[in-house]
Amino acid sequence: MARKQRTSRLVWLRRGVQGVFLLLFLYLFLETEYHPINLAGAHVKLFFQLDPLAMLTAWLASHAVAAGMLLSLATLAVTLVFGRWFCGWICPFGTLNNLCTSLRGARAKAKLETGGYGGWQKAKYYVLVVFLGGALFGVNAAGWLDPFSFFFRSMTTAVYPVLNDAVSSLFGWLYDANPGIGPVRVTAVSEPIYEILRRHFLAVEQPHYVGNVLIGFLFGAVIALNFVRPRFWCRYICPLGALLGIIGKNPVVRLNKSAEACNNCRLCLADCQGGANTPDAGQWKPAECFYCFNCRSDCPTEAISVGFGTQPDSHEKTAVVK
């Protein structure tokens, strides 16, 4: 196949921004505890306030909305005009799924088969409609599959307690067993590390949550599904993604495939995160695109470019590759 490309700067920028938001989410997660003025700080709920799905279903079901959640209108506005950047650059759960997809490390040929658009991606829209239907009649169950709720709830009840227990057990064992040779003991290094962990990362008391096994298992399953398809959750399940897909169906920032430059190698499919790409060059589904720019980075002939524009009319022909 074509030679391995050097990753483009835009992709590195995107990865950097994703990393920042994921770290921000995890930081806010750790910050969600008591601080000495009986406050947790309103800032810890930031991601939920940016979440238009949570806002929409709460509003439909209860006919009122917490003021802070109106921030999510900004997300909607940006998506309406510019497309699903939120999924590709901001959503921390999306980034986590992205990371696990990368761990998959499939060969290029295997990736080509699963990278592009698949009909099952429509499933998330039906999931969204189920929740919207329920919300219309007072039931706000969207939180079960809202990505921030899913991620935060799983972190709280399953992931963090597991990590906390594992780390505490390790340092507990090191403290008791005190391994070493002669006067050189591991605790000389491990105890200072433990003190830092204890003060900044570990829980004051080991948390235990009812229902953690099911929640943890579901979380693990969702993460593992990234080995089946790239960003499985984002493509097939996420109702927020579906909502943003509907809103961001016609973005003004568009990916263009030059029919002349394209040599039909289809490498652009291999790393497509959202499943917006199809084997037909010139076809691009904006409702599924996360603007990850992997396709642009991978293209050996630089046939893919980003630009402003509006959708061609339905009667106009789309570019077709020879």
């Binding site: 939920f48 949570a54 279903t57 409609v129 329920g134 709280t156 009840t157």
Partner: protein
């Protein structure tokens, strides 16, 4: 300027084939119907429309009345993370299937700290209303009751009163009657037998949490008397801003 905007709007309504979501109308209707049907099933469950109450469903202080609460709660787990005593947990079926993963207090694991309002501060949707400390201290989330078959001074002729020791209300909601009981050895001893004052008890559950009889404590909290659901109240004319 107008032209591109017009074309842009038209792109939503009449997109080219490649950009269509391609959702089947039939499947959309079926999905919507499923959502609506599920909603009505939840409403007609015994816990729906507040037809009846689950004594185990003790919610955090500041939680709205149940129907409204369920319509707002996004099951995010912020309150569960912030609770300093690890007292708030994701519900299984205490609130019916509709309430899956909504917050519920489990007193054997944690309790509601008297001067704390953290859960009311972090709830993003307002399902748990923000409260000041003074407001929170007047909210009842439930009512404690003793299981005299297990409580030491009732059942085993020994004094304990760890529950009273920890009771945080300014005037303690647990009080005593001294009683003469007989020990297994036949001695007569005086023990302090605890009782709950329903006007003072706010259902915080620290008594349950500290009870020396682990697993199935001798004192429990049930949701009756909770301020947020007046129909699940208890006392007539007990005053207080939330009635009940």
């Amino acid at each position: 300027m107008i032209g591109p905007i017009f074309r842009w709007i038209k792109g939503f309504v009449k997109p080219p084939q490649s950009a269509r979501l391609d959702l089947s109308r039939r499947q959309l209707l079926a999905s919507g119907a499923a959502g609506i049907g599920a909603a009505y099933l939840f409403h007609t469950h015994p816990l729906g429309r507040q037809r009846s109450y689950n004594p185990d469903l003790v919610r955090p202080p500041g939680a709205l009345a149940e129907e409204e609460f369920l319509s707002k709660c996004t099951r995010c787990g912020e309150c569960m993370k912030v609770c300093p005593t690890n007292g708030i947990h994701p519900a299984a079926f205490e609130a019916g299937l509709e309430g899956l993963w909504t917050p519920v207090l489990k007193m054997t694991i944690g309790y509601c700290e008297y001067e704390c309002t953290l859960c009311t501060q972090v709830c993003p949707t307002g399902a748990i209303r923000a409260l000041t400390v003074a407001e929170k201290q007047r909210v009842k989330i439930g009512l404690a009751y003793f299981d005299r078959n297990r409580c030491l001074p009732y059942a085993y002729a020994r004094t304990c009163i760890v529950c009273e020791e920890h009771c945080p209300t300014p005037k303690k909601a647990i009080w005593f009657e001294e009683a003469q009981v007989t020990t297994p050895a036949g001695e007569k001893v005086t023990v302090k037998q605890p009782r709950v004052d329903p006007e003072l008890c706010i259902g915080c559950g620290i008594c349950v949490n500290k009870c020396v009889i682990k697993g199935q404590p001798a004192v429990l909290v049930s949701s009756v008397g909770e301020s947020r659901n007046p129909a699940n109240g208890l006392l007539l004319n007990s005053g207080g801003p939330y009635g009940g």
